[in-house]
Amino acid sequence: MQEAPTANPENSSSENTEEYREPAIRIKELDFLYGNNQVIHNVTLDIFPKEIMAFIGPSGCGKSTLLRCLNRMNDLVEGARIGKGSIEIHGVDLHDKSVDVIELRKKVGMVFQKSNPFPKSIYQNVAYGLQIQGVKSKRVVDQKVEESLRKAALWEEVKDRLNENAYGLSGGQQQRLCIARTLAVEPEIILMDEPCSALDPVATGRVEELILELKNEYTIVVVTHNMQQAGRISDRTAFFYLGKLIECDLTKKIFLNPSKQQTEDYISGKFG
């Protein structure tokens, strides 16, 4: 295994980890295009297991696109394609022909900006992922639903009304339900696309707590507009600007002592 490139400073100057860790996701010199419009320029980035990585940057900087590349949600967009470079998970290139995108998405779950539970019951929402995989046993599904809801810190609030419509929940609860739904499929990596942008501060707090708890088991990548949030929850932060990775480092360092001028300008609110 080669030495990680510059965007992986943890390896050389880590404060809390001494040994070299195998990255969960390895992005190598990635160019990404929508048609002829290049939105990601030569990004190289490693994301390690069981850490929270935050992507920050102004709108249109490509952070969401990059996130959606990680479980190939961009396949849905017409004309979206990889220019050069690769994304590897467990050393497998995601865009290799042998990769089944369905299996990939089971391992790399995603939580969206707008909480979007299905207009079904709470139970059915969580069981959805299992049911489409063909799990028939009611006992297994019941167990998994409860486990996922507990993990998402929602069980106590909804255990008495599992059969009610999910849209009866508050915004924060809906978002946590979406997280529970993702957890039920047993992913290794969870991608979160601005999970709290539609929530009030209290609900945001609950979700953030939850994310921090989930860190123990899952690798989490969060895209956020909210820099304080990145500061509160993430281990490392990557700052993007105009499709380029400007800087990626420990969150503390990015916020207190960024090495690039652009990062400092953004963090301090001079633009963006």
Binding site: N71, M73, L76, E103, R105, M110, F118, G129, I132, R181
Partner: protein, 559 residues
């Protein structure tokens, strides 16, 4: 400033401006037009309801059930004005039967009934004895002789005409070239006429004509002579045919007569009397010059009291299609609607899924869309002709439910596809993304988290579209509709597949038939409005059903 103002002026005093006038005018115009539309709709409904309700609520009881449960029949109106009684055929004949039985029973109760019966029996026995084979042969030979004479005369006239065409043609102001075609036309027409008049000879005449046809077509003087010869010869052989047919006829009459005595009822008697009367008229043709008719007259005389007992005078004015009900049409329309709905929704939804979910933008897809849009603008009569050409003729389904279903389905397909696509697109993208992100394949995603939520919209628009199409006459008039059919769709099926290959009656076509195909009068007008009323109810029913269904589904899946 300079003069005292009449009114205290503040900055918000209204001022007459161009915009203000426009505003008032436009508001009035919009309101007026809306009210006009409302008025038209109200008038239409009021017209149908007020005139149609008469048919629905007429007669005894609250609702005229006969109208809803019976086949269309002829309406018999007895009496005039206040006292008029309207009876559909079945009721009219039932009444007639009842009266007949009454009369028959009275007759049977009279003292000389037995006497008359014996007389009748004796007379008919006598006449049967007289009908020997020999007598028949004699009579027939006489008839043929006479006919032959007449025909020979006709033939000679035309033969002469051809022979002396130059002089004769000038008399009739016709050209020489026209004579021969005219003669052959006459001959063809003559054979047609003979065939109609003498049913018994029809097969033989046809055969003769077929044999001689080339000669008749290319008539020359020689041909004409040959044909005349052949025809005379043919007529000479004919008596055998007559004899055979007559004997069969006589046997039938005897059987009926025996039936009458064994069963003793007015129905049997009626049939017997009819057979005898028919027999007599045929026979009289043969025996015109026969002097020995005394037995026959006796029989006629003996019959008369029986016949009188059977005849019931119930004078009525008859109006075709104005009586009975429209039950088969209701059933037919429902069948057409349900079938067309099923086909169009399945086809339309699948097509819409492809267009909305799988179809990438491209030349092909935009061509498909253009085609669908154009399809929506094709007049319904064209769909009728298309269905007639493809399903009825080419696929040989005949006039059938299946052909009607597909024709109607194709007609509403554009509506269904457009509505379904709209409904599919209105499903938030988030449902699709989260489903895919949970590891669903595209079809699983569509099946579990798009289609169920789009269903309310799809169903409502599609059902409304089909209900509208159900009112179309043009697409079904060539493909599925019968003006009159006495069996209901589930009656008289030999095999279950026959169900799909039968035509049905339908409400819109029935309205068309009673308003355009039969003589118009107040009674048919009742029928038209009654049918329209029921049809309106049916459409309202379907529409409310679809709305209820939508509301139910909406409640289940709301977001």
């Amino acid at each position: 400033m300079m003069s005292a103002q009449k009114e205290p002026k503040h900055p918000f005093t209204p001022r007459l401006s161009r915009e203000r006038i426009q505003e008032t005018f436009v508001f009035g115009l919009l309101r007026g037009m809306t009210f006009f539309v409302l008025f038209c709709a109200a008038f239409l409904f009021w017209d149908i309801l007020s005139k149609g309700a008469g048919k629905i609520f007429e007669g005894e009881g609250l609702i005229n059930w006969e109208f809803l449960t019976e086949h269309p029949q002829t309406l018999h109106v007895i009496g005039e004005g206040e006292d008029e009684i309207k009876l559909s055929s079945s009721n009219y004949y039932r009444l007639k039967d009842e009266k007949m039985y009454e009369k028959w029973n009275t007759f049977k109760g009279t003292s000389d009934y037995k006497n008359k019966r014996n007389q009748l029996f004796e007379a008919s026995k006598a006449i049967q004895d007289e009908w020997t084979d020999q007598a028949l042969v004699l009579a027939d030979a006489r008839f043929i002789e006479r006919e032959q004479g007449k025909l020979s005369d006709k033939f000679s006239f035309w033969t002469e005409l051809v022979t002396n065409f130059e002089s004769t043609a000038s008399d009739f102001e016709i050209k020489r070239e026209e004579v021969l075609p005219m003669v052959s036309q006459f001959m063809l027409g003559h054979f047609e006429k003979e065939r109609g008049r003498l049913q018994l000879l029809s097969d033989q005449l046809m055969l003769f004509r077929a044999q001689q046809y080339p000669k008749i077509e290319n008539l020359t003087k020689e041909n004409l002579k040959q044909i005349q010869l052949a025809y005379n010869q043919f007529l000479a052989q004919a008596p055998q045919t007559y004899n055979l047919a007559m004997r069969e006829f006589g046997e039938e009459a005897t059987i009926t007569f025996n039936d009458f005595y064994s069963k003793e009822g007015p129905k049997e008697f009626g049939r017997f009397a009819e057979a005898l009367v028919a027999y007599s008229s045929v026979r009289q043709t043969f025996l015109e010059e026969d002097q020995n008719m005394s037995n026959w007259d006796d029989l006629q005389q003996c019959l008369s009291p029986f016949k009188e007992a059977m005849t019931v005078a119930l004078p009525s004015r008859d109006f075709a299609y104005s009586g009975g009900g429209i039950f088969p049409a209701i059933v037919g329309t429902l069948l057409l609607v349900v079938g067309a709905m099923a086909i169009s929704i399945v086809l339309g939804v699948f097509c819409a899924i492809f267009l909305a979910e799988y179809g990438k933008s491209g030349k092909f897809i935009s061509m498909v869309r253009l085609a669908i849009l154009n399809l929506a603008g094709v007049p319904s009569i064209i769909f009728g002709l298309f269905g007639f050409g493809l399903f009825v003729i080419f696929l040989d389904w005949n006039v059938s439910l299946l052909a009607g279903w597909f024709t109607l389905a194709f007609m509403v397909l554009p509506i269904v596809i457009t509505a379904s696509e709209e409904a599919l697109r209105s499903i938030p993208q988030g449902f699709r993304e989260s489903s895919l992100a949970l590891g669903a394949t595209k079809w699983t995603m569509i099946k579990t988290s798009v289609l169920p939520f789009a269903m309310p919209g799809i169903l409502t628009s599609s059902i409304l579209g089909v209900a509208r199409a159900a009112g179309e006459t043009a697409p079904i008039m060539f493909t599925a509709a019968y003006a009159k059919r006495s069996e209901l769709p589930w009656e008289g099926l030999e095999h279950w597949t026959d169900f799909f290959f039968q035509g049905v009656m339908a409400l819109p076509y029935h309205i068309y038939v009673v308003s355009a195909k039969i003589p118009q009068n107040e009674y048919t007008a009742d029928m038209q409005y009654g049918t329209a009323f029921i049809f309106l109810l049916l459409v309202v029913g379907i529409a409310s059903l679809s709305i209820m269904l939508r509301n139910r589904l909406r409640k289940k899946y709301r977001w």
